[in-house]
């Protein structure tokens, strides 16, 4: 029995070890999608326009697996010490570290999941490992055409150390006296005075920084964040009109089709297998999601298949009996596994081990069907799970994602 090793990406990967082959491939795939993420929607001139905006900010694309950074401003790169290549294609979590407050991380994750604006203080880490406090201002930008989040923008404003009550306790000696005197002066000037004083004392002891539970941003910093956010939004909105794929800061509620939320798309994007989701509530049960691996397997592009029925994979030699079996299972809301001949875009055929399963959402009713494909002749991915188990793993992951992410506030009757 062969023991198969799993490339260890993740928590246990040391910072200095080289990325495994899989990680490189993953990053490579993202990089091909990074530039078009912005230019396809905002035109080729967007990078220049964004470069003119002062401030530290990142733009991320939740529609790409891994939710990567697609733009980093000069100010951000200067503040963090990273180069553009080191940041593009990576997830924003790379700037978190051991003393980053876990609840803040949870809040960011939830704001992304719920597609809303968030402003919190956060401890981030520069490339050289030093921590620093920032005011983190996150907001979504929605596509007017489909109501989905096109991009998230994260503006970051450094919060300098100040002589507030929290850090006062840590001030010792001369520094304390200086601030003590300051507090006895006119209070309205205290802010300005203290800030100036703080800048004179460079904090060389990072441990003190990490021991701080939180650091409040001042009104000035919040204003700087809002101003930068407005400039960025303005630029994005303006340039999106050039391509016709207009964006807005508000989601436009579309009558009829409610698109898959970006949090569901993010979750589905983590499943690195060929599969599609179809929607039985819509006429002709169209495909509403297709994984990258499905596109590679079949040779189609996403635009060509979203909204279409799954049957385009069938062809002249596909057994009618099998198709009948599939339709019957769907009628009774049951899962089925079949083997059928399918056709790629280029006309070539392959034997498809297809597993189809109903997927229920939080209401308990069937919301989608997931179709998981395995090309019989494809090389095994070497990770040790049988093809059937891998298919079931996809079904499980999809079921968890759809059920949890459709949970929303349900009405409650008052007790009689």
């Amino acid at each position: 029995m062969v023991a198969l090793t799993i490339p260890s990406i993740g928590r246990r990967a040391e910072n200095t070890s080289p990325p495994s082959a899989v990680a490189e491939v993953m990053a490579g795939c993202s990089l091909r999608l990074i530039e078009p993420s912005l230019t396809a929607r905002y035109s080729d001139w967007i990078s220049e326009a964004l470069d003119e905006i002062q401030g530290c900010f990142l733009i991320t694309d939740p529609g790409i697996a891994g939710h990567p950074i697609v733009f980093a401003s000069h100010g951000f790169l200067a503040m963090s010490g990273y180069s553009r290549e080191e940041v593009l294609g990576r997830n924003g979590r790379m700037f978190q570290g051991p003393a980053t407050n876990r609840r803040s991380v949870l809040e960011i994750r939830e704001a992304i999941r719920e597609e809303r604006t968030l402003q919190i203080s956060l401890l981030n880490y520069r490339k050289d490992g030093t921590p620093h406090w920032i005011l983190f201002h996150l907001f979504p930008v929605f596509g007017v055409d489909d109501g989905r989040v096109a991009h998230f923008v994260a503006v970051q404003v450094p919060i300098p150390r100040r002589s507030r009550s929290l850090s006062e306790a840590r001030c010792g000696g001369a520094r304390g006296r200086l601030f003590g005197a300051c507090r006895n002066e006119v209070r309205s000037d205290c802010d300005l005075g203290c800030n100036l004083a703080a800048d004179l004392f460079v904090d060389v002891d990072n441990r003190g920084l990490e021991a701080e539970e939180s650091r409040e941003a001042s009104e000035q910093e919040k204003e700087r964040a809002s101003d930068a956010a407005n400039s960025i939004l303005s630029a994005l909105t303006q340039y999106s009109k050039l391509t016709g794929r207009v964006v807005s800061s508000k989601r436009c509620r579309l009558a009829g089709i409610s698109p898959l939320s970006s949090s569901l798309i993010l979750s589905l994007g983590r499943i690195k297998q060929s599969f599609v989701l179809t929607d039985p509530q819509l006429p002709d049960m169209p495909i509403v999601y297709a994984s990258d691996e499905f596109l590679s397997l079949t040779g189609y592009s996403r635009h060509e298949i979203l909204g279409h029925n799954y049957e385009f994979l069938n062809g002249p030699d596909t057994e009618v009996e099998v198709l009948h079996q599939i339709r019957q299972s769907i009628q009774v809301e049951c899962a089925c596994t079949v083997r059928l001949l399918n056709y790629r875009k280029d006309g070539s055929s392959f034997w498809n081990l297809l597993h189809i399963s109903p997927v229920r959402n939080a209401s308990g009713k069937v919301a989608f069907y997931v179709n998981v494909q395995i090309d019989e002749n494809a090389k095994s991915d070497g990770l040790g799970l049988s093809p059937h188990m891998r298919q079931l793993g996809v079904v499980g992951a999809v079921k968890v994602a759809v059920r949890s992410l459709s949970l929303c506030a349900g009405p409650s009757r008052p007790s009689s």
Binding site: P7, T100, Y125, G396
Partner: protein
């Protein structure tokens, strides 16, 4: 004698036959079958060298491996009809309110069966092989073994011989799931450990949380007296892709002047939440964090204080809740209205996920109800401070507050631990009828 009626949850298909002893050839998890069996084995990289916790890389391991293994296996068992119901067909919702408690309508979760007696006035009870335990579970309910491996990478073997020398730890399905993917982690199943925390087992649980790599996969533990159903050491786990209310609650760090600075573990108090609890995070290594929490649990066990533990955020944040609901129930101090909803406040309920049996309760579920129920579970402020002091003493910590009056605190925890417990806690002969 005080009694409480309670309807338990069935965790395994074999639990219902607990009275009978089956011969083997049934492919169970006992010494008769397991050592000569083959099961899938997931061997995680053990903590040989110190680890930088939360180095900023939050991604699940490549290909989401452990999750595929667990969810794929779970889906397979579903298709084989091993679960008592399809949990995805159970309606669920977030209760409107500030915290977002999650309620589920599940009429099939609680089995009606003849009542049996089960002592819950003692947190530590010896393992009883005559009662149901996990060695009696059929191997089809097991998904894979989960153990520390050698080497610096995680490994997976689809079919590994268990062998005589090994003490296998297994992950099995929970046949009455609270959510899709609900499993049980049973450390060293053949050793027949009773339901009590020990440092090695707790570390195994933390490793599982870390290995799954998703902040939405949590592990939970219920002590006896805090609604553990079976006196055979086990943890529970499942996925819920949203935060639990308790994870959103604010916390306040407890300043520690000595004891924790070496390991860098942070202890905080939970604020603005109906159940009082401690939150542990940080640590140089997973083991550092694990040991502090395990020692805290052991202190509670030895003082006969029932408790629940929630392992969240991929093993980075651990919540500890001492509780007293069973005692209150025995003394008739819980309102009938709350009792009628038949919610046993174990770790998932305390964390904010409630399974409701009656449609009426589900439709009327409110944050105010959830708060009222959970408030009954919590220790009072005074009692919590006492318990916190025992824990700090037992884990070798000295909090800043204690420094203020050192003379009074010296020796007090020791003296009060035995007498105070007897006075405040379960009257003799307290039983719960199931």
């Amino acid at each position: 004698m005080l009694t409480i009626k309670r309807v338990p949850t069935v965790l395994s298909n074999y639990q219902e036959d607990s009275g009978e002893s089956r011969g083997c050839g049934r492919n169970c998890l006992g010494k008769c079958c397991l050592p000569v069996s083959k099961l899938p084995l997931y061997a995680f990289k053990s903590d040989a060298k110190p680890e930088i916790s939360s180095s900023g890389v939050d991604e699940p391991p490549s290909d989401f491996f452990l999750n595929s293994l667990l969810l794929g296996g779970w889906e397979d068992r579903m298709s084989r009809g091993l679960f008592r119901y399809d949990v995805t067909a159970c309606e669920t919702k977030v209760i409107p309110g500030e915290y977002g408690f999650v309620a589920q309508l599940n009429e099939g979760r609680h089995l009606k069966k003849r009542p049996t007696e089960f002592r819950v006035d003692r947190v530590l009870q010896p393992f009883d092989p005559a009662k149901f335990n996990f060695t009696k579970v059929g191997q089809e309910e097991v998904l894979f073994r989960f153990e520390a491996g050698e080497g610096d990478k995680a490994r997976f073997l689809e079919s590994a011989a268990v062998g005589e020398a090994n003490t296998p730890s297994v992950v099995a399905i929970n046949v009455s799931p609270i959510e899709y993917g609900h499993v049980l982690l049973i450390p060293r199943v053949l050793d027949c450990l009773p339901q009590r925390i020990d440092p090695d087992s707790f570390l195994l649980a933390l490793h599982m949380a870390a290995e799954a790599g998703s902040p939405y996969f949590r592990l939970g533990y219920n002590s006896l007296g805090a609604f553990a159903t079976i006196n055979h050491l086990h943890f529970q786990a499942y996925f819920l892709t949203m935060p639990f209310p308790v994870e959103k609650a604010p916390t306040e760090r407890i300043p520690v002047v000595k004891g924790l600075s070496q390991s860098k573990v942070k202890v905080s108090k939970l604020l603005n939440y109906p159940v009082r609890g401690l939150v542990y995070e940080g640590g140089n290594t997973l083991k550092d964090l694990s040991d502090v929490v395990a020692n805290s649990c052991i202190c509670l066990q030895e003082n006969n204080i029932p408790f629940n533990v929630l392992i969240s955020d991929s093993g980075r944040r651990i919540f500890l809740f001492p509780q007293c609901y069973a005692e209150k129930q025995a003394l008739g101090e819980v309102s009938q209205e709350i009792l009628d909803t038949q919610v046993n406040p174990a770790v998932w309920e305390i964390s904010g996920h409630m399974v409701l049996k009656r449609k009426k309760d589900y439709e009327e579920a409110s944050e105010e109800y959830a708060w009222r129920l959970l408030a009954e579970v919590s220790l009072s402020e005074a009692r919590f401070e006492e318990v916190k002091a025992y824990i700090f003493e037992a884990t070798g910590l000295e909090s800043e507050e204690e420094k203020i009056e050192p003379e009074e605190n010296k020796g007090t925890p020791h003296q009060s631990s035995t007498t105070a417990v007897a006075a405040n806690h379960f009257p003799e002969g307290c039983l719960i009828l199931q």
